[in-house]
Symmetry: C2
Subunit: 142 residues, 2 copies
DNA sequence: GTGATTGCAAATCTTTTGCACTAAA
DNA sequence: TTTAGTGCAAAAGATTTGCAATCAC
């Protein structure tokens, strides 16, 4: 397997999150955390890993993405039934989803205001609020 | 098959939407449109249909729900990757999703305000804005 | 060494598809 | 009668699972 730079950084990062720094996790961590925020699917990461020369099974990609999510390093988004997206930006923010291309991106700024929260049943609390602005081509009649 | 009341109403309703009033569509239409707003999955409607004495195949349930959606009678929601919900309330509104029970309901009132829409690429327009308030049990650490 | 992690293949679950059959208009 | 709609079974995709092999610590 090819030597990818910045191993050290990622290894420290994973350990700080309480995760064992396996070869596969380090490689996926580099794909996710060394550049700007990303919105990826498991399939994407799998293909990308193989292209980068890191052999990982798809099952392990799912495993790693879910562990990263539980460790608070990723957020899983339901945008499209039938496919999960994982977002490396875990701060509170909103999304822009291009229906024609299935591309997802962060929305610049904080343009949504919650005026009032409805009263919730006892012992329940808000886990999070998802806002997705769905965009499509004007000429596309779908 | 059992005779269900209000056939006429639903038949007119479907025809007004440009849909042929087949036995299966009438039965599913009754489940969806004769009571208060509902949030259902295909599986739910399938089981419910069989319980009501209307034999429908699951493939037809999907077919019908999608046709209803294209005809503007339903809205399809991505709440949970891996399962589609269909909402009979097609007006602009927000959702409350109980993560522990996978129950979805409309949010009373209009508590979200969009302060500013980001500038979009040319020839694209907002299709819709989904807001989902995710709620979970306080004692549940998931 | 020991327990966590991985790989693989099979299983599961939701949704879609192809095609012959049926029914609405 | 004509064409849309249905049923079934099989296919397709995404994700999960079980278990033996492997690796991090």
């Amino acid at each position: 397997m090819r030597k990818i730079p910045n191993d050290k950084e990622i290894i420290e990062f994973l350990k700080a999150a309480g995760l064992r720094a396996t070869r596969q996790r380090v490689a996926i961590g580099q794909q996710l955390f060394l550049s700007e925020d990303r919105h990826v699917t498991a399939e994407q990461i799998h293909i990308e890993s193989l292209q980068l020369g890191c052999s990982v099974s798809l099952a392990t990609v799912y495993n790693v993405l879910h562990r990263f999510t539980h460790a608070g390093l990723l957020r899983e988004l339901a945008i499209d039934s039938g496919r999960s997206y994982f977002d490396t930006n875990i701060s509170s923010h909103q999304h822009l989803y291009f229906e024609d291309t299935a591309k997802l991106c962060d929305m610049p700024g904080d343009n949504i205001e919650i005026k009032a929260i409805p009263s919730l049943p006892p012992d329940t609390a808000i886990s999070r609020i998802d806002v997705i602005i769905r965009v499509k081509n004007k000429t596309n009649s779908d």
